[in-house]
């Protein structure tokens, strides 16, 4: 497909150092790895009594209708618009899709972040796993062509197919809903802290190096970095599926269970993601020479997570058995405020779980399962509740 020469510029990442946010095509993107994305999908789709697949596909169609629209230009012809869709999908790290047979109602994928994530992180599965791609295609086709379609995956590489195949048919719906949000949460000004800054760990050098990495899909549309598969996921997607999941579970009287599940996924993510990172050549090359003890490793991990866009969070207190962190612009809290207004209770399940997970990784012993649950984390105050920052406290479980 022909494609205009300025496409790389349209999809270039803009980094905002004040908030540690990364923006692509007008959308804040958060870099998570295959461990987190696969687990989150399994949790939401596996919950009984709710339409988890609908939550994931619905969020993807709404968010990517907006992001694709922002990547398009009025002068793009039909072929160029579809080329933008293919390129954006690969650029963000989701894999390779081929829209060449879209008019015949067929889309294929030769590689997939979610397939790789599920097989590498969770093992063999008996069902199709590309719910996210179904939703992405609905939103992207709507943005690129104005057609509202239904997309169903009929073959999946996760079940042994040579490629993933999707049927595309006309929908009775007239439009894809807009990504409606309320008043934006202002970026925090000076202040916060005081934060612990270990002398040996050059946090800014770590952040600069990670931000300088070309975190874009390779020839397969995947991002194998730090020994894991990364992807640039819009923060709005994570917020929509997590808020939607908790609300759906609340309807069944299981809100607390939903929050525990989201925290648990993040706790595993904190251990698995950073365990992979700590064994990577990138860690060995830049970061390991700065790390003289376990506390240094913890600070380096937090620096990396900031560069990935997780939360503008920093250590305020730390011992081998305790950790306190402050986040002033985490995507979960900000997203909740924008989608739902002021909350009654803290909302940052991902940061809560990761805070425990990284302590289990740095100070624990044994396998991931041996370490799981050995630290407990809670969010004491949250931007979503109107507080100036989100504060997390982690303690070893005795």
């Amino acid at each position: 497909m022909s494609i205009s020469n300025d496409l790389d510029g349209r999809l270039a990442m803009q980094y905002e150092p004040v908030t540690y946010r990364r923006k692509i095509a007008g959308h804040d993107v958060i870099i998570h790895c295959h461990h987190y994305n696969a687990r989150l999908q399994r949790t939401i789709e596996g919950a009984r009594g709710i339409d988890g697949k609908g939550l994931i596909a619905g969020a993807a169609e709404v968010v990517f209708a907006g992001q694709v629209a922002q990547a398009l230009r009025p002068e793009d012809d039909d072929a160029a618009r579809l080329a933008v869709v293919e390129r954006l999908y690969a650029h963000l790290g989701f894999g390779r899709i081929d829209l060449g047979q879209l008019a015949e109602g067929l889309v294929t994928a030769s590689s997939s972040h979610f397939v790789e994530g599920w097989l590498a992180g969770l093992g063999q599965c008996e069902h199709n796993v590309c719910t996210f791609t179904e939703g992405f295609l609905v939103g992207a086709v709507y943005a690129a062509t104005g057609r509202v379609v239904v997309v169903r995956e009929t073959e999946c590489m996760a079940r042994g197919a040579a490629r993933c195949s999707f049927t595309v048919t006309a929908s009775e719906r007239e439009s894809v809903p807009g990504n409606i949000k309320g008043e934006s949460v202002p970026v925090p000004g000076a202040g916060g802290g005081p934060y612990l800054r270990p002398a040996q760990v050059d946090e800014q050098a770590i952040i600069d190096a990670v931000v300088g990495m070309p975190m874009v899909g390779d020839e397969a549309g995947l991002i194998p970095a730090f020994s894991v598969y990364l992807a640039n996921m819009p923060a709005d997607f994570y917020n929509r599926i997590c808020i939607g999941f908790v609300e759906a579970m609340r309807g069944l009287g299981r809100e607390k269970a939903a929050l525990r599940l989201l925290v648990s996924d993040a706790e595993h993510c904190g251990m698995n993601t950073f365990r992979g990172i700590m064994h990577s050549p990138e860690w060995d090359g830049l970061i390991a020479p700065m790390v003289h003890d376990r506390a240094d490793a913890l600070h380096a991990i937090i620096a990396i997570s900031n560069a990935l866009g997780w939360g503008d969070w920093h250590v305020t207190a730390h011992t081998p058995t305790t950790l306190a962190l402050e986040s002033r612009h985490g995507y979960e809290a900000v997203g909740f405020r924008e989608y739902r207004g002021r909350a009654d209770a803290p909302q940052c399940a991902m940061l809560t779980g990761v805070a425990a997970g990284v302590m289990e990784l740095v100070y624990g012993e044994g396998t991931v399962e041996d370490r799981y649950g050995t630290f407990a984390s809670r969010e004491d105050q949250c931007v979503a509740c109107g507080e100036p920052s989100c504060n997390f406290a982690v303690e070893r479980v005795e």
Partner: protein, 89 residues
């Protein structure tokens, strides 16, 4: 030469291979000759060679090397790589 399994990676069969010190330069020369250019990431002081179904990565010192397999990596691919590294399972 020995190897250690690396946890939580893109493929469950991910290993670090610890090369003999006097073999490091020659091994990387063989990797480049067989699989193509050496790509360097100076910010992270790391480098890699990208083969069709796996990547070989290391710090700029070249040792140990981490082999990141793609899902379609075959036993023949790994046997050829092992011969090139001088690793005997």
């Amino acid at each position: 030469m020995r190897r250690e399994r690396v946890p939580a990676c893109v493929h469950p069969e991910t290993y670090k291979y610890f090369l003999e010190r006097d073999e490091v330069v020659a091994v990387w020369q063989r990797l480049v000759a067989r699989y193509g250019e050496l790509r360097k990431d100076l910010a992270f002081r790391a480098m890699e060679v990208v083969a069709p179904r796996f990547r070989v990565r290391a710090t700029l010192l070249g040792n140990p090397v981490t082999v990141l397999r793609r899902r379609d990596c075959t036993a023949d691919d790994i046997a050829e790589l092992h011969a090139l590294l001088g690793y005997e399972p």
